[in-house]
Amino acid sequence: MAGLETLYEGLGFFYEPLFMRRAMVALFLLSLAVSGAGVLAVSRRLAFFPDAIGHSSLAGLALGLLVGLDPKVATLLFGLVLGLMIVFLAKRIKLSADVSLALVFSGAVALGLALVSRDPVASGGLARWFMGDVLTTSDQEIAAILALDLVAALVFLLFYNQLILSAVFPAGAYGRVFLDYLFGAFLAAVSILAVQAVGALLATALLVTPAATARALAVTGRAFFWLALTFSLVAGQLGLWISYQPGVNASAGATIVLTGLVFLILASLYRRYRDRPKKVNAN
């Protein structure tokens, strides 16, 4: 892939090692698909979804080994089936889960792993599973993420309005069962590819945290979308940069998660300040 080589060369300004430049590109491309998917997931109260899919990919992996499928293909297929199944269950038994649950969960694990990752002996298989490793992203994975971006662009262009409508006002979008399953499959694909590239924990955090941050700040639906994308890009790149600093030297994934959470906390504080009860001058 000659295009990528040129791109990496150009990014030499930011980082010396090639794996860091690759991570930059991977995170950038991932943010494009994942932030909008996160906005939709949060709007539709499916913040738990990527987590569920992410953690279940271990089972997909095992199944793949049993049947003799390529592990990446197996986890993707298994994730798609699970995604559709979650939609099915949500429609039958009114399952619901809170955004905060996903955030507290990912935040707690991230903090633990960030501490563990500083100790080279303690970090091992555990960290690799939860965090994946954005620093070992291959060109092949970057190509897969690029394909995901194209699918995401199609979904955002063609179905965004209807997906938001059925989230805000289900009575107005009744009978569009097809959309629910389409979204289930899309979100599953986003989650699985993100997990493969950067690990279960980072994938969830990239999906949910920027959307939650944007939700705290935005007033319009348009701002919601673009702010989520901005926070996703900034938290990804800034977190990567911080993790690389000699004084920090922590796991890139965990640092990115924590950077995103700092933005979320700041945004929530700002919102509290903005919405504080104000004295109105009586006239």
Partner: protein, 243 residues
Amino acid sequence: MSESPPAAVKFQEVGTTLGEYEVLRAVTALVPKGRQTVIIGPNGAGKSTLIHCLLGQIPYLGRVVFDPPKPKVGYVPQRPDFDRFLPLSAREFLALSLARRPIWLGLAKGARTKIKATLAKVAAEDLAGKPLGSLSGGETQRILLAAALLKEPDLLILDEPATGVDVYGERLLCELLEGFKDSFTVLMVSHDLATAKAHGDWVICLNRRVVAEGEPEAIFRPEILAATFGLHQGLLFNSAAKD
């Protein structure tokens, strides 16, 4: 009762249960085409449930027949629960079902103009830029009504349009309903007899089954209201029905 008018909707032996509880029993009634029908009945009579059957939102026995067979339906529910924290302006909400262009790209000029005109119809132009979650009950209903009107419906369904509406909104609602006459079929649910009397030109009395249906003159009689709402209420209506 004279010959039945041509129907936009026919309920044929519609029944449904909630667990063991029979909410509706063999409801057979019609909604005349191009006119304003009011379903009246006490709380728990199954009025909203009948609407949910019509919309296909819950499973039911019997049949609901439409003319035209697949009408464009505008539906304004009684108490919509919005996620109040979801960032979305009223204008964007209306664009969701109107425009193909995704809202994150902003609204096209045509959609913006059309939304503005429709909001003006429901006296809600000043709400366009407000977040959906910040609207009052009456304001929300006006936005939902605008959304229903944007669909250019064959059939407009209003579930308890007079509840949770301020006096200003109520007068507006009356004017709007007058304006809708002869443009499309309206089906309204109400436990408020004044609204039914003022706007209905066809009335269905429902109390888990159809007690009576017909022109208002035939319906607003003490014995029928008593049968619909219960005896004591019926005595009260005795004087109300005269004026």
